[in-house]
Assembly symmetry: C2
Homo-oligomer: 323 residues x 2
């Protein structure tokens, strides 16, 4: 039933012989790309055009200390259930540019390639999306963990977005810039204080501190969502009749903390408060069937939140061919 | 707490006035892209480099006839549960290029832009991936529905992949090329027969008919999976110790037919046989925790199959920054 075509015969005999290729083998016809394609996804919220930019992933080895209030066997099972390795949590990073028509607003800035070798692609993906860093008008920071602020600066302390107004949560600034608080912090936290000073030190006078709840750009409101850090904020992007909830770090990986919202990650500074903020925003997203964006959700990191069992499910958006 | 920076003051007064812009407004700083970014995703299976290419989506209005053996209320609920509209099924298309190192093998060819306005981007995504259609060595077709074969030709009957050996399932060829069968087919099926003749007519003598189960290229085996059409095939791509199961149309949209494998879509020509083939392959994927690719799964259309309740769940792969 399998016909041999003229082309196959030629390739297998005359042509191949002419090229010095043994019958049955073939020259490589196209080089492998050898690297991932750009991670860029666009969608609309009302009249606004949003661009999700993938910054990469941190494959974090975890043990029984990672979730404070769950048995490690349960954490491993949750990872195994979604075909992830049981001892390594792949934490992805996705930043978001909102084009309001009059402003280019960037929500968080990625790792700046200063955290781990497998992250730092936000800059090249910004370029792939055709956006010049000089064109960013406004930056809104959710909180001061390094994977959210390091992209503001190169590792040589150069400003990456020279024309952007940088907005940060006032209580976050007050906490991390307080020398007294830093002096009493344990070493694993103290490095965050030092990093905040490195990133903001030379631009401190130009940084705009916003009150959580305040609108920071047209149609972009901030929402207090404390617990993960003392001043951690989420965002609502609204245009026309549509709105989208950017969850920031209200959860880390959804397959762990959307499904098990009561679990407290060791990186949630106040675990109980983080759970309270998490339930409040996930409840709102589920009840209102809002589109959401999650900083540590799998790229393109947008979708919806559905109630499921004791927790919730993250339902990724279907990649659309048009806006 | 919200500081006004020097930059904000300037933008709101002197600079803006100089540019003739009213205070409080701003010039558009970057044009919206206005269209989706390229849909290309790469991953490895052993030494092989695979490239998933998004061809777009068919937003198909559906009614109570779409699933033969389920109440339409249940179908609507299944769509509503995953935040899809209740009367329109967005059916995505994703083709796959396998670079074996010596051959570029294309599994199915997309709609060729000949089905619906929202599909036909496979060609531009192939270009974005840096792959010349002339470099495709081998094409393997799963079955003869137009969204799988139309990409072989332009609508003006030009061959799109001039150097490719075209492999088709022998029983599929025998069925659709039989004039007697065509003569007794109802009109809604007859158009498929006519389309098959349009696509294959002028190249018929060069088409290689494979026996389902046969290996058609190095490391690419075909698997009989009849029911959706009489000769429908799935594929296993194997390299080194890894393998991946390309499910072809063993299900249409996973949120309907992976979750409810017993549901028979009206587009499954033999519904009962399609369900039997579906259970067999989904069981294999779940039991072996195989990575899968689904032609009608949301882009990038790869992930895993988990057993869940009476059916299965599709767990999309996490977008990886590296191969």
């Amino acid at each position: 039933m399998a016909d041999i075509t003229r082309r196959t015969l030629l390739a297998g005999s005359a042509l191949a012989a002419a090229a010095g290729i043994p019958p049955g083998s073939a020259a490589a016809t196209a080089p492998a790309a050898g690297r991932q394609f750009a991670g860029v996804y666009r969608y609309k919220v009302g009249d606004y055009e949003l661009t999700a930019l993938y910054d990469g992933v941190w494959n974090l080895p975890i043990d029984e200390t990672f979730v404070r209030n769950a048995a490690f066997a349960d954490v491993r099972k949750a990872l195994n259930d979604v075909f992830l390795p049981p001892d390594t949590l792949p934490i992805p990073f996705t930043t978001l540019v909102v084009n309001t028509g009059s402003k280019l607003v960037l929500l968080d800035t990625g790792t700046g390639g200063q955290l781990i070798g497998t992250a730092g692609s936000m800059g090249s993906n910004l370029a792939a999306a055709g956006i010049d860093p000089k064109a960013i008008d406004v930056i809104v920071i959710s909180h001061f963990h390094p994977d959210h602020i390091n992209g503001l600066k190169t590792k040589d302390d150069e400003v990456v977005f020279p024309n952007a107004e940088v907005n940060v949560p006032a209580p976050e600034w007050d906490y991390w810039m307080d020398d007294g608080t830093m002096s009493t912090a344990p070493d694993r936290i103290k490095r965050y204080f030092l990093n905040v000073r490195r990133v903001f030190g030379s631009i401190a006078k130009d940084v705009r501190r916003y009150a959580p709840g305040q609108e920071v750009a047209p149609g972009i409101a901030t929402i207090p969502a404390f617990g993960h850090t003392p001043g951690h904020c989420a965002f609502v992007v609204a245009s026309g009749s549509q709105q989208m909830l950017a969850l920031s770090d209200i959860t880390n990986h959804p397959w762990l903390f959307v499904r098990h919202p009561e679990w407290q990650a060791v990186i949630d500074m106040d675990g109980a408060m983080a759970v309270k903020s998490r339930r409040k925003l996930l409840d709102r997203a589920a009840a209102d069937r809002m589109q959401v964006q999650g900083y540590h959700f799998p790229f393109p990191a947008c979708g919806h939140i559905a109630r499921a069992d004791a927790g919730y499910d993250f339902v990724p958006v279907m990649w659309q061919p048009t806006l």
